[in-house]
């Protein structure tokens, strides 16, 4: 078992221009990366001796509407050997957010990327089967975006009870 190496130093050495920014906050390291080179970056972090982030904890998506770039994807990595965590962040523009899929690096990214697609509308190129996972298959819209309406139906009080009752879809047997 090798001594753990510093991920930031190794990344800046090997992946020179892919690394855009490094943020360190209260013990958590975040490396901001170019989105089109995400597969190469993830393979580097998984395979290098001394880093070995073999576990992808989660892929989360953020919507910074109305700021540009609008979307951000966070890949939360965990190294079981050295028990430490790392976050890789990519920023995506608001029109047509696409980037390569990392399912070839960690197979568990399959469902996590489907969730990011379903909720935020981020397309993953090279994904084995990119379809909705939480919403029904024919749903329109991406619910967790900031411009998606918050509630669903008008609240039925006594004064507007009959008006709303007429429009509610009841099951006929």
């Amino acid at each position: 078992m090798q001594t753990p190496l510093d991920p930031v130093d190794l990344a800046k050495l090997s992946l020179k221009d892919a690394v855009l920014d490094v943020v360190e906050f209260r013990g958590e390291t975040t490396i901001v990366v170019d989105p089109q080179r995400i597969v190469e970056v993830c393979q580097f972090f998984r395979d290098t001796e001394g880093l070995e982030y073999i576990f992808l904890s989660d892929i989360t998506a953020v919507d910074y509407f109305p700021k540009e770039p609008r979307f951000a994807l966070c890949y939360h990595l965990y190294s079981m050997l050295y028990t430490r965590r790392l976050r890789i962040k990519v920023y995506l523009p608001s029109d047509d957010p696409r980037l390569p899929s990392v399912t070839s690096v960690w197979p568990s990214a399959d469902w996590e990327e489907r969730e990011a697609y379903d909720m935020m509308g981020i397309h993953f190129e090279g994904h084995p089967s990119l379809r909705r996972i939480l919403m029904p298959a024919d749903w329109e819209g991406h619910p967790q975006r900031k411009d998606y309406p918050l509630g669903y139906e008008q609240v039925q009080f006594s004064f507007n009870f009959d008006d709303i009752d007429r429009l509610k879809p009841y099951a006929k047997d």
Partner: protein, 160 residues
């Protein structure tokens, strides 16, 4: 019940066919296992020892819809689960009854959003609504007894 007073000593009871059939349906209604969320815990505790549902004839909850005649929708129904719910309801043989247990099944509860069906009566026709979040076992038993009252008022003329 009719001339029961005179024939009671002989062990004979007279009644109407309607009352007898409704009595049979009421006393042996088998619920289907359909606990979805937190209301399922209350349904389980109603089935368990202190608030016993077996004394109402509901000895166990059938997992198969083909062998049950009461569906207690306990918990939130998501938009993705709604077609499944409808399919299970269609697989139940007549006469079938639906109790919508809890606020989320009755009206969407506190979840007024894209993911939860706002009231399970958008999907299946409901006989009794039980309010509560979650309803206590006594409330669910009151709902079941209200359903029994409803079944007792059913007439043969409506079946044909």
């Amino acid at each position: 019940m009719g001339v029961a007073g005179k024939l009671g000593n002989l062990g004979v009871v007279t009644t109407t066919l309607e009352a007898a059939i409704n009595w049979g349906r009421t006393k042996s209604m088998w619920p289907m296992l359909f606990g979805l969320a937190c209301c399922a815990i209350e349904m389980m505790s109603t089935q368990a020892s202190v608030y016993d549902l077996s004394r109402f004839g509901m000895e166990l909850m059938r997992a198969s819809p083909r062998q049950s005649d009461l569906m207690i929708v306990a918990g939130r129904v998501t938009r993705k689960m709604a077609p499944v719910l409808r399919q299970l309801y269609d697989q139940m043989p007549d006469p079938k009854y639906v109790i919508s247990m809890g606020d989320c099944a009755s009206c969407g509860g506190i979840f007024n959003n894209y993911a939860i069906v706002q009231g399970v009566d958008e999907v299946v026709p409901v006989d009794v609504y039980v309010a509560g979040c979650p309803p206590r076992p006594e409330q669910l038993i009151h709902g079941i007894m209200t359903l029994h009252e409803k079944v007792k008022t059913q007439r043969i003329a409506d079946w044909a």
